[in-house]
Amino acid sequence: DVKVTQSSRYLVKRTGEKVFLECVQDMDHENMFWYRQDPGLGLRLIYFSYDVKMKEKGDIPEGYSVSREKKERFSLILESASTNQTSMYLCASRKRGGRETQYFGPGTRLLVL
């Protein structure tokens, strides 16, 4: 059974804090993604990684960075959390190839106070 897990389901942080969101997949997928999901805006891609140590900016990378030191793990970092980063964060992974299914984690609901 394929699995994408995220380190927290709910997280509350203070403005200015550094926040780490972790994602792990057990399917040996090359590609991993971080999205944020907001009502009425759908899924917006923050960053994606197509290989270890490789990354590419998505549509809304400002205020975020990522790290992929191992194939199975992809971390999203909020360098200095702000209230407008309150959102649902979804991690996903996908085997290489346009036809492939993308698998999602359960999401982390982040509240920045």
Binding site: G40, G42, R99
Partner: protein, 114 residues
């Protein structure tokens, strides 16, 4: 750049009835794939159905089927015999053949009434 449009933010259907969710996309590519994903409340997003652009036959998965109109760039999802468990956000997504990224629509929230 490719775009995906879901024009219905919300839809509702009676249990056991049929509902169709709309999706249109814009691309100049000839090699691409289309997907419908389902996100139940507080649960993980999962793939419902996939369509390869080179296939003329519409994809079907049990009660879920698509109406793929390539010339019109339309990819609607039909859910037959709707069940309470079908209540979810549904996202239409597009992938170019050589691309690793999906482009998502903004989603349609489906309510199933008993």
């Amino acid at each position: 750049a490719q775009t995906v449009t879901q024009s219905q933010p919300e839809m509702s259907v009676q249990e056991a009835e049929t509902v169709t969710l709309s999706c249109t996309y814009d691309t100049s590519e000839s090699d691409y794939y289309l997907f419908w994903y389902k996100q139940p409340p507080s649960r993980q997003m999962i793939l419902v159905i996939r369509q390869e652009a080179y296939k003329q036959q519409n994809a079907t998965e049990n009660r879920f089927s698509v109406n793929f109109q390539k010339a019109a760039k339309s990819f609607s999802l039909k859910i037959s015999d709707s069940q309470l468990g079908d209540a979810a956000m549904y996202f239409c997504a597009f992938s170019r053949g050589g691309s690793e990224k999906l482009v998502f629509g903004k989603g349609t929230k489906l309510t199933v009434n008993p």
